[in-house]
Symmetry: D2
Subunit: 357 residues, 4 copies
């Protein structure tokens, strides 16, 4: 490796700190040092997640509250800038996608294959752990997945929401040739639909209140997209399926009435998967509706061990993540990114903060 | 068979008709005739089900409304009184337990092994199909299960709620040695707990607001029973499990706050099974609670093909249904049965209307 | 409908009867009459199945022996020629694909959603039930699935092996992005691979001893195809997967050593699905190999309720069945079809006997 | 703790080394020292496992060959003799049961909840890792499970084969009220049957060629026990189940013909679980039999995370392990233990080597 490819990292770096509701400020902070088994990452691309926006707009999600200024950001790719002691399977200069959850590895959930439920998890950009809207960060080596040649840093950042989408479809037990509804055409809803298509969904119906997102969803993935502000979306899906309903109905909107709509449009004995985060932190459903249908309801919590599959799906072209990265920002205008996402401005799908190539 | 064991059935019989809210009246109605593949049953024992009480107190469940006078009753045993054409595997005089659901056999749900979700089902005692609070009834032969020697007609009637309990435990995917919470110590909650024990639950925690039911639950099946009107039942179960929570949490109370309690007391990655029927016809849960735990939620709808297993569990003594039949009635005082059940009077668990031995 | 579209069927028809090993003879037999709930079908296209060839070459499969001359043939499409009493959802003149299994509908397997295991099944073209290498046949109406506009009769016939392939992938619990091996590139192996691709397999490795089939498999669906007569196919698949092995390994060759190869190339904790029919009627595996890997092994028996999904997969272009129909025959040269398939001649994949458009 | 309860361990200890086929010799070896996160165990009770006997009689299992003298023994309980650095949840003097597998914690199998399949596992008493037929041993702290008051060291040692039995029943997906066959009434077969009973099996049929083991199985757990040397055991089980067969059939004999018998006695669509280790290292089944039944076959490999459940099942009296410990030995006569087990002498079920109380 040439010296130029591995310059000594600087002593300080610029970072975007969330101080409170709608209050992000840049600051100069020390560049961290990787310990044993860790690497120093030079951050490349970072997506703005819906959960980031929850923190930005509301100062928390449920009882996870922002108390101290925090660096958000957990959907990211990076270049390996330095290796901590004992790291052997990575090289300085490699472009990697990074799984943002550091699990304890020793609790019942970790030992039984559910690291996504580890109560001791340290998750990038979730209080009180800093994230990666910053120039450098330290991460354990085993969370870094080298990207195959030709995969961009932006695609690498999008593997994180793609991973959530894969976990969502895993939970749904969708079978090839079955039909799916996805409520909400934000980034997660779109990726869930894309993974459903890759998994063999023979029809995908979506709902979305924002006109530009409906248009995007139609061109990107969906068979039909309905507008919940104008149409009885459950009736539309039932009509499109000759009254039967879809096999799997996935709530990815976080709207208060979309879980009920999702339940109305799923078939008898079907599966309802909830991956949206509602502002009111409440799920309300009609009891007789879901009981008479004998539904199974699955709650999505992050992902588990899906990065290798996510990389293969993108590398083979089975899921196309590139079109979702609709708007690009830098640290300097990051607050604009949050405002645009919060306001669904200009047809924004996924805002990507680009820190390095 | 001696003639005396198979007297010609009479032309008319006495039946209890629900005319409206809290209005049951006896009437004389014609004895029906069995068609091909059917049998005439002389009703023996009939349990009063919680759903019967819903119709009695509220005139309906969800959009299933009592519009015409109806004979309720679907938990029952009977003696074969006459055989319709072509019935070969039954004999006049046999004591049988009877599965109350007549499925269409041809819809997608029936063909894929989910007859409990058949939208064309005709279910005894559910509008507009008459049930068996009456002396005779006609049923298709394949729904009649001969009882082994020594099993009483009362036990036979209790196989129906036992079947629901078996289906509930099937849905829970409980593993031997796991722990269970059951919210509500009415007949279904008690039977769910009994089946959980038979299935290897190593600890069973129950909740119940009625003192006499708590006492019964303790002596019948539970390790501990908590009072939701006096105690923080979720905190109690969490304390009893060293903070971990139970593997499976089953709501069988139909109270508005018990699903949330059930969610609070289940472990990370656990399963929540809902078999209670809430008066308000609404399910409300805290979204972040169930998402962060990554819960699976299962809705119980009747049962599927479990009578053979129910019979074996009772015949082998693995589930003891007898203690649940706490109060006995006849057609003449059937309204008293409903009032007692509705008011949880006198420690009543299961009211049984005894029409014949 | 014009009279010309529904001419009265003739009194007799030509049929191909298997008299014994390698002995098929045409005969004139009476055209059957549809009873209530049945339809008379004018047969369109019929595929020659590997099981047909087993009967042709060996006179039986396991203890299912050909004792009387029998009409084989069960992969087929047809046109409705006449309706029996009470048939309402079909029309004369419709092109339909036909599920060849008539299940009893009343046994434990039928009632629990496993009609493919019904011991009372009557299966077209399996002793002693006649099949459809003939001009007309009677079938129950509910086994007839109208084809959407634009789907050919040949595609309709291929839905039957496609259905087996869908059932195979269902049993495998393949997840999107996982990797698959398919041993054997005959029609079933190719369709299994095609369904695996539709279900999101990110890599498909096949094995096949016949050179022309290897070439076909490469152009049709596979990432790589290995020759078991020249290469250590398990070593090749392990190398292609960096030593890990595939998630799902599917034996569709019926060769004696392919189950062991399938076991060698599957990953730890993987799933082995067996759908080939070996000549020796024996499965032999190394015990320590499959135990140390903790494998799950699934046996494929026909299919269950998958025609609607099969139709959608073909109609949407998610599975392309057309290329498999490589050689066409008529009743007059049907024995040639069997000889060609038996001898893997001329790169034959699927022989189709075309009786009508 | 008084000094007397925690004397300094000696410098050397006595250990039983297997030098080759039927050649065990005592030797004096150094007492090991616990590293960080480890504990020094004073061994209490150690069971002789069937796999130990394979090594003793044949010098290996499959390609796991004894090349250097090795201390066998992995079914054990012990007293904590000393704590390594950083061990906090254990105390010197505690009686613990010990899970004998040390997994890597970082491979795909460990991360996805299948530590029993970890290819990097170090397993006590399996070449080249020494086991515990010796006075002291070092183990990682997290594999040590304190026993509740009143549970004996012998019961603690038996938790290991009980854990295998729990894993076996987990794999079987047995439902409450279903029926089970267990082939082989050695310790694992008996414990599998005991766990099946605890899990709600309503009938348990066993097979066993040794008369004293048949008698023990009858008194311990089984409904009926058949002799494969005198009876057609599959026919017997089919007759006992009115021709239907059992829901789950578990091979725990390791005999060459018992997998085929197990397949014959299981119902259509049933599950076959193989946990025996056959001498010939080969599994052979009739292909048409298992295909027509549409069986699922599961291979048992050790266990995963089941000690807490094992402890609860024994502590609650749901499984009674005590009767299995039929013969007791010391290090001095350990070879006699192996010979007795190998020869099924004197009705031996489980030989326990008692090193300390």
């Amino acid at each position: 490796m040439s010296p130029s490819s591995n310059p000594h990292p600087p002593e300080t770096m610029s970072a975007a700190l969330l101080h409170g509701i709608r209050d992000i400020r840049l600051a100069s902070v020390p560049v961290p040092h990787p310990g044993p088994g860790e690497v120093l990452l030079k951050i490349a691309s970072v997506g703005v997640c819906g959960s980031d926006v929850h923190y930005y707009l509301e100062g928390g999600i449920g009882d996870a509250i922002v108390k101290e200024p925090i660096i958000m950001g957990h959907e990211f790719s990076a270049t390996i800038a330095a290796l901590g002691a004992g790291v052997e399977h990575l090289e300085v200069g490699q472009l990697v996608a990074v799984e943002p959850a550091i699990n304890c590895g020793h609790c019942e959930m970790c030992l039984t294959g559910h690291p996504n439920l580890c109560p001791h998890v340290r998750f990038c950009g979730t209080p009180p752990i800093d994230g990666v809207f910053t120039e450098y960060a330290v991460m354990i080596a085993e969370n870094c997945f080298p990207l195959p040649a030709g995969m961009s840093s932006v695609a690498g950042a999008l593997l994180e929401p793609l991973g959530v989408a894969i976990h969502t479809i895993d939970l749904s037990h969708l079978k090839v040739g079955q039909t799916v509804a996805v409520l909400g055409a934000g980034p997660v809803g779109l990726l869930v639909a894309a993974v459903a298509r890759a998994a063999g969904a023979s029809a995908i119906y979506m709902t979305e209140p924002v006109a530009e997102r409906r248009a995007f969803a139609r061109s990107y993935i969906a068979d039909e997209v309905f507008d919940p502000t104008e149409e009885d979306v459950a009736a539309k899906v039932l009509a499109a399926t000759q009254g039967r309903g879809v096999d799997v109905s996935i709530e990815a909107a976080g709207a208060m009435d979309s879980p009920e709509q999702a339940a109305e449009m799923v078939r008898l004995g079907g599966t309802l998967v909830l991956c949206g985060i509602p502002v009111d932190d409440s799920l309300t459903l009609t009891a007789s509706l879901i009981r008479r249908k004998g539904l199974t309801i699955k709650m999505v919590r992050r992902m588990k061990h899906v990065y290798p599959r996510a990389i293969r799906l993108v590398a083979r072209g089975m899921v196309d993540v590139a079109p979702l990265a609709s708007h690009f920002f830098t640290l300097d205008n990051i607050q604009e990114a949050f405002e645009m996402v919060a306001g669904y401005q200009d047809g924004i799908i996924k805002a990507v903060v680009q820190l390095a190539p």
